[in-house]
């Protein structure tokens, strides 16, 4: 997986209430979530973001609620990946589970400025800031995360296992 996109930069402790405010959680329709993504931090974000753009956060990105609607909203609005100094654990796990690439890369996150162009190779953990001509490595995914990614996400992983155990039909 490789992406090229423009940086939307946010600060430390971007929480799930900012990513997708709870008042909109009466639906999990991706288009509905996308419309309100980051609304309370930057009302201009959802209308102006372009497919492939990259969200860059500081420390503890995605803290707060367990709502999977947060990575769903980011993915649905067209963001290709999220780079941060560190992630809150539930958000990190949810992102991997639903196939939103998340890269922990403190220097890359600190250096990136709004509007910079980044090139990201998720498999290699390589980040290139085209605007600033700098290169970075992100922390590699733990083995179990790679296993889930190889399976095509957690649901595919579970499906394969249930078929093996004879608890689900192959054609489902």
């Amino acid at each position: 997986m490789a992406f090229r996109g423009t940086v939307w930069k946010f600060g430390d402790n971007v929480d799930t209430d900012v990513i997708i405010p709870a008042r909109y959680l009466n639906s999990s329709d991706p288009a509905h979530l996308a419309r309100h993504c980051m609304e309370d931090a930057d009302p201009g974000f959802a209308p102006r973001v372009k497919p492939g753009d990259i969200v860059v956060g500081g420390k503890n990105f995605g803290c707060g609620s367990s709502r999977e609607h947060a990575p769903m909203a980011i993915r649905a609005v067209g963001i290709s990946c999220v780079i941060a100094e560190s992630f809150a654990r539930i958000f990190y796990r949810n992102s991997i589970n639903i196939g939103l690439p998340v890269l922990e890369a403190p220097e890359a996150a600190r250096d990136a400025q709004p509007g910079d162009t980044l090139e990201v190779d998720v498999d290699q953990g390589a980040i290139r800031n085209v605007t600033q001509r700098k290169e970075y490595r992100s922390a590699s995914y733990p083995e179990f995360v790679q296993e889930i990614i190889r399976a095509g996400g957690l649901i595919e992983y579970v499906k394969t296992r249930l078929i093996k155990e004879g608890r689900a039909d192959r054609n489902e």
Partner: protein, 419 residues
């Protein structure tokens, strides 16, 4: 090398003799929890796995508590999907409005979670059950779906941080103040990915209700779980609610901790967390004059019997300030009923407060008590993020129920000492 209580519980559920921090293990789960916001997404994901049945219909709990009683048509549809799934799968622990409560008050009260268990829930405050000496952590909907299908989940064994509380708590100081003070010290990412183990004489002197409050907010420091070793207080609570044979684990004396913090709680004041982060804590004497428009007393953090009683003690015979709306939300129907029997609901209504059945609504600005632009609220809930309780330009201050009740009376953030 010894193990911490967290490591021991995970080792047993991974069917291993020992585990070490950093290892990835697959663990059997004793209970899987979802609510009306997270369970519908989990149900969709569960269908996609191809599974026909959940792993064990007695080990899943579904609680419509966030936008229930249904806020609008869309919420009604979400609640209906959860209800239909519960019926289809014969899920025994489905709790309908009128018989329900806020999930993290309800599950311990019903004896559905206990010491030594592994519990995952599609709600970040699932870590509350660590107060009983369980390993409990919040996950997302897809993890919930996988656990409903397999009866197990993947976990990275967390490093443990130990928090030792010495001394004696003063009047009006509760578990909420210990955890707010701790988050103020270490920050909202101070325990990121780790276990927080709470111990020391001040913890052993705490009620179960105050312990639940502390474990509840471990996630606000970024922790995977918060945990307290079971003692007589724990076992008294558990035996009144369940006849299950729980595994009782303790940390070994030579267990390894990644950090140890010591606090002397003697003389500690009640704490207030300023907007917009639970780490912005100050002692009540350093708050200054902050006028409020609303006071909320309740939630999975502070909607338990101890909380309702202390709020009533402060409000008895007094009147809510004319410029303030005071909302009281007992955590479960049982707590609500007990408050009625003890005459506490009468105290609140006579004081000019509103008392509601259990709901998470106000905590997350979902429904009931949404703030308008520029309004300020003192709240016993757990988060004061931007827009948490309504308009992005409103503000939430977090405190214990005695402070919230005194503030409701005086119209500004204040201690009961001032009344």
């Amino acid at each position: 090398m010894g193990m911490t209580i967290t490591e021991k519980i995970l080792a047993v559920h991974a069917e291993r003799d020992s585990v070490k921090p950093g290892e990835l293990v697959s663990v059997k789960v004793d209970m899987v929890l979802g609510n009306d916001i997270t369970a519908p997404v989990a149900i969709d994901q569960f269908r996609k796995t191809g599974a026909k049945e959940v792993f064990d219909p007695d080990r899943i709990a579904l609680v419509p508590d966030h936008f229930a009683p249904n806020r609008d048509i869309a919420s009604a549809e979400q609640c209906a999907r959860q209800r239909d799934f519960a019926r289809e799968q014969n899920i025994r622990h489905y709790f309908e409005v009128g018989r329900m409560g806020i999930e993290h008050c309800l599950l311990p009260e019903k004896g559905l979670v206990g010491p030594g268990e592994v519990i995952i829930g599609a709600d970040s405050h699932t870590c509350t059950y660590g107060a009983l000496g369980a390993f409990a952590t919040g996950v997302g909907s897809t993890d919930m779906a996988a656990a409903m299908a397999l009866g197990e989940t993947w976990l990275r064994v967390p490093e443990t941080m130990k928090f030792v509380y010495k001394g004696t708590l003063g009047k009006w100081v509760m578990g909420k103040d210990l955890i707010l003070n701790t988050i103020g010290e270490i920050g909202v990412d101070g325990a990121l990915y780790r276990a927080m183990e709470f111990t020391g004489e001040a913890i052993r002197s705490l009620s179960m209700d105050s312990r639940f409050t502390m474990a509840n907010m471990a996630v606000e420091a970024g922790a995977k779980n918060g945990i307290i070793e079971p003692d007589e207080t724990t076992m008294d609570y558990v035996r009144q609610r369940s006849d299950s044979d729980y595994g009782l684990f303790k940390s070994d004396p030579d267990a390894e901790y990644t950090a140890v913090f010591e606090f002397d709680v003697t003389g500690m004041e009640p704490q207030v967390a300023f907007p917009h982060s639970p780490e912005n804590t100050r002692p009540i004497s350093g708050v200054g004059t902050i006028r409020i428009d609303q006071a909320v007393i309740g939630s999975c953090t502070n909607g338990r019997m101890e909380d309702i009683r202390i709020a009533a003690e402060v409000m008895r015979g007094r009147r809510v300030h004319p410029h303030v709306r005071c909302l009281i939300f007992p955590g479960t129907q049982a707590i609500y009923l007990q408050a009625v029997r003890e005459g506490l609901v009468e105290v609140f209504i006579e004081a000019g407060a509103m008392v509601s059945g259990p709901t998470c609504g106000p905590c997350l600005g979902g429904h009931m008590g949404v703030l308008s632009r520029g309004e300020r609220c003192i709240s016993t809930t757990n988060r004061n993020f931007v827009g948490r309780m309504g308009h992005p330009e409103s503000e939430v201050f977090l405190a214990n129920p005695a402070i919230a009740a005194a503030s409701a009376i005086l119209g500004r953030i204040a201690s009961p000492e001032e009344l």
